[in-house]
């Protein structure tokens, strides 16, 4: 049995989305910017899709939701344009981000930091949450931008975007939120939340890969990152990805519809799964359930290194994820676990399960059985649970 529980990494494309995209590969393949019928026939479809995308985040028609190639492009766009417009010109000298942002914010912030911008990295608390007050404390008269993610990819923790938005508005500081993990999982309203810029990506809510978006509030439009043929109202040049836009529109429509109907089911399934996982001895979850996205569990199994757990899960067809250092190219541990200041013995033991509306109870039951077997086997191997003769002066840091 194959089970996919890595939906925070990417999702399966919804069949309806796939069908909606299909005609734009071999039938209506015209370049929308050309002057002929092949171009013209795409326009109503693009418009409908864009309207669905606007509705999905409750954007105003006067705002701009610009389609990009991915969330990484959107995030780079915000930080680099802010750098060009505010930092390089000397009008401002500072931005604020959280210490658990996605690499597309983190690495870009480090880059503009190397070019002379000051960057404040907001800490997260022991529940894996940002405290809005820390934003207030960090803002100076020279702060150009605050960029804090809506929901964290590892823990699912939902950050206080509304409060941060209000603080930014009060101090007249621009506010960007990377909502990649929030769109399609929780109701989003850019109107209500004082958001100036918002990033999201279709492949996180059963849309196609290679389609991201950046919302920009009316009057707060950024200079373009990609110059060229002035597509997307001049905000982002490049031939329109017609199938991608249509796919994102359909995916957004379905995801928003599912918020009321399927999301409660996902939450219930997740909660039951988590209850069962926590019955296994020495397991830990950091962020409280009501403070994270409905589909995510980040759980530590003491004494079991993350990659070895993934190995055992993968042998049985189960796809999950770990931020453990050993599973990465650069041996860097899960930044979230370190940032939380969790028991350091647990830094390399966290496994993330992320569900979707396609996850079945049968899959969860199978996963649970495999996890139990893996925990038993790997703890049998683990030095954390091993025998030591009396008086042995252990140098392994074992927390029990």
């Amino acid at each position: 049995m194959k089970v996919y529980l890595d939906n925070n990494a990417t999702t399966m494309v919804d069949e309806q989305v796939k069908s909606a995209m299909d005609p734009f590969f071999t039938e209506m393949y015209g370049n929308p910017n050309s002057l002929h019928a092949y171009a013209g026939e795409t326009h109503p479809h693009i418009k409908t899709a864009m309207e669905k995308i606007y509705a999905g985040i409750q954007a105003n028609r006067k705002d701009s939701v610009v389609i990009t190639s991915c969330a990484t492009e959107s995030n780079n766009w915000v930080l680099k344009s802010i750098y060009f417009e505010y930092i390089l010109t000397g009008r401002k000298n500072h931005i604020i981000i959280s210490e658990v942002e996605h690499p597309s914010i983190m690495a870009t912030a480090r880059f503009i930091e190397s070019m002379g911008c000051k960057v404040t990295y907001l800490p997260i608390n022991s529940e894996g949450l940002i405290e809005a007050q820390s934003v207030r404390d960090s803002i100076t008269s020279k702060t150009a931008l605050v960029s804090v993610m809506w929901a964290n990819n590892e823990t699912g923790a939902i950050f206080p975007v509304q409060e941060i938005g209000e603080i930014c508005a009060e101090h007249k500081v621009l506010f960007h939120t990377d909502a990649v993990q929030a769109v399609g999982k929780i109701p989003i309203s850019v109107q209500e939340f004082n958001v100036d810029y918002l990033t999201f990506s279709a492949h996180k809510f059963h849309g196609p890969k290679g389609v991201g978006a950046l919302y920009m509030k009316q009057g707060k439009e950024l200079m373009p990152l990609l110059h060229g043929g002035s597509q997307m109202g001049g905000h982002r040049s490049g031939t329109l990805n017609v199938p991608g836009i249509v796919g994102m529109g359909k995916a957004m429509e379905n995801a928003v519809d599912a918020l009321d109907f399927e999301m409660p089911d996902i939450r219930e399934m997740r909660d039951n799964f988590e209850d069962e996982l926590l019955k296994i001895e020495d397991t830990f979850v950091v962020t409280p359930r009501n403070k994270r996205t409905s589909n995510t569990i980040l759980i530590s199994f003491r004494g079991i290194e993350g990659e070895s757990m993934l190995w055992d899960l993968n042998r049985e067809g189960i796809a999950a994820s770990t931020g453990s250092a050993c599973a990465s190219e650069d041996l860097e541990a899960n930044s979230v676990m370190e940032a939380i200041g969790a028991d350091e013995d647990l830094a390399h033991t966290a496994i993330r399960f992320s569900l979707s509306r396609y996850t079945t109870q049968e899959e969860i039951d199978h996963t649970l059985a495999v996890v139990k077997k893996a925990v038993a086997r790997l703890r049998e191997i683990s030095s954390s649970y091993s025998y030591a003769p009396e008086g042995h002066n252990s140098e392994l840091t074992i927390g029990h």
Binding site: G303, I304, E305, G306, E307, S308, W311, N314, R315, S324, A325, C326, A327, E329, D330, L331, E332, A333, E344, D345, L346, A347, H348, T349, E380, I381, S382, S383, S384, Y385, S386, Y387, A388, P389, E390, H392, S394, E395, L396, T397, I398
Partner: protein, 323 residues
Amino acid sequence: MGLDSLVGGTIWDEYSNKVADLMNNPKNMGEITTEEAEEKGGKLIVADFGAESCGDAVRLYWLVNPNTDVIMDSKFKSFGCGTAIASSDTMAELCKFKTVQEAVKITNIDVEKAMRDTPDVPSVPPQKMHCSVMAYDVIKKAAAQYMNVDMESFEEEIIVCECARVSLSTLQEVIRLNDLTTVEQIADYTKAGAFCKSCIRPGGHEAKDIYLVDLLEEYEKEKMAKTADSLAQGGPVDFEQMTVVQKLKVVDKVIDDNIRQMLIMDGGDMEILDIKENGENIDIYIRYLGACNGCASADTGTLFAIENILKEKLSPNIRVLPI
């Protein structure tokens, strides 16, 4: 770089079948208790290395015959990834029936080689070589305990890169002989720094006493010192072969020693903007500061003086261009 690096792959694709098999069914996983040791008339040694907070930890059990020093049984327990488990298992296997003195000679490289499917293909991806180092360290720890000596006494030299086991003296020699200036070159010549990368510079997976960047800096300083000595004694300097940074430093030094004082006395100064190779010539771009700026001799007498001293001290191909 190129195609292979663009697509990347999963680290698991690079595990040998042996590593995968040992991860699935480690042979020497287990423990030896005091009672068992007594029963079999051996001495029990239990050694730990690593820490869960670092991502890997291992406990090694040896049953040693106190009369012959032969390791009669060897078992392990490990907190770590697949490579850590497989290399701990292999290490425990390699220890069996060797004397403690022989076992100490087993290195992480032996462990990695023992896990290969074919002799020429590494059994683990480069960054995972680090996991096998722990297997080596824990042997030393166990042997030190048995022989009642300090663990460090087994190392005859200082090892800078533990993954590839490259010593300080080897690195210093290779850097000097081949005039190496980058960490990539060091990796090409010695393999040091090509695996877990901790030894390249501070901030990696593991803190080190000596980093490759320190050694490069040390060599750079040594070269600069030599040049300075040579300058002081009026000897020849191989200016053309220097890097731009070295050239800048040397030019600055010559100006400091011979010219700057005169300029400052007249209320002026100068700075070096850039050095460019232009065919045969080496063009040094300068900017006059203070009173030198606009001084009548700035483009004539003073300029010739600067150019002549640099030509004499460094290279006849130098041209000085004020901007």
